[in-house]
Symmetry: C2
């Protein structure tokens, strides 16, 4: 059997203009999963993305709308590129194709490495999907100084490193990056190299869980042929 | 960037004679992960495999010995093909390459689908790695009638289906197969088709977590190039 290619719709929960920016998470996914082709779409009128409950509530109907468009275009799966997993449960009620966010996968892959997880995010609290999966195995949560939305991350990388160092002092044995903006700026390899601790990138985590779900949904029978 | 191929050592925790049997789990992994090449090895003198604490204790030093051989042969990662994750922590203390069992991955991928997990196994209790990851999200555990070791599974498929039906009545929304012998007999697609419930195959789960760990360990920097 030859592995088929899968077309994955990526929903960016922030309004971006440049094609290169819009496609950045999709490009990472294609690098890490060579049989994935991606098509990326932004939600409208949210230039600061999702950073609190209000901005999440505003985004949910827009995400659902984009998901319906992508399903009409016959994608094989949908990744909502956000650690809050916004609208993921809602989309699953009508989608026959796999749908994943980045939050639950990030928590699960952190847990695959250690039960002492430190989470780095942009909100005052850890994203709900992460705290719900990890419960008392989330031993510490930090956000970098100077950051209150994903667009603040690029100019605050040194504060992200500082917050990660605090997580290690708190006892973390793995760091879960709890905003896909950390993927945009490539923080995971920086932290792994500087601090010598395993780091979970949320986009790669989402791609990994999507990969398994595609095999389980569409290919399982063929593995025994 | 081109995805590199990875060589994965598969440790079979049962003594098998025919090449085709020895390589069966490796072949599944290669089908599902086309950039994996596998090399499979059995432990010695355990024709019934691992089925209780005593047989697990006997197997651990043998698994460690095989792991050292495989690492000497320069594999990129090791999968211990057993849901009890025997010797996995011990091998991790000396291996620079990723090491995974099938237990923790099976639990994590079940949790990616639902927090109401039913587990199907061959022992009197669920495997420890599974109950430790899932805690109260493991809502029921069953073993098929007539089964006390992995080699009993082939002639008791109808009892495995019966036990899975009981798990569904218990409220399970996903079924975690907690013995890699279920992979050998191809139970996951049978249950998915017959009972219309998501089923986690332990070998595919192990391969998925290995895939992520290989990207994280060896390729993370290159994803941003």
């Amino acid at each position: 059997m030859m592995m088929k290619d899968f077309r994955i719709g990526i929903i960016r929960v922030i309004t971006l203009k440049r094609e290169e920016e819009i496609n950045r998470h999709g490009k990472m996914i294609e690098e890490a999963f060579p049989n994935f082709r991606t098509v990326s779409r932004c939600i409208e009128k949210q230039p600061r993305g999702i950073f609190d409950e209000k901005s999440e509530d505003e985004a949910v109907p827009k995400i659902i709308r984009v998901a319906k468009q992508l399903l009409n275009e016959n994608v094989d799966g949908i990744i909502v590129s956000c650690v809050a997993d916004p609208a993921v449960n809602a989309i699953q009620t009508f989608s026959k194709k796999p749908v994943v966010g980045a939050g639950k996968p990030t928590a699960l892959l952190a847990l695959s490495i250690s039960d002492k997880v430190g989470a780095l995010g942009i909100g005052d609290e850890p994203p709900k999907p992460v705290s719900e999966i990890l419960k008392d195995r989330l031993i510490s949560y930090r956000k970098p100084r100077g950051v209150s939305a994903t667009i603040d991350l690029e100019r605050n990388i040194e504060f992200a490193v500082e917050a990660a160092e605090q997580l290690i002092r708190d006892g973390a044995q793995v760091i879960a990056l709890c905003c896909t903006g950390f993927s945009t700026i490539g923080l995971a390899p920086i932290l792994q190299e500087k601090l010598r601790i395993p780091v979970i990138d949320p986009i790669i985590a989402a791609g990994t869980i999507m990969y398994h779900e595609l095999i389980r949904t569409f290919m399982l029978r063929s593995l025994w042929k």
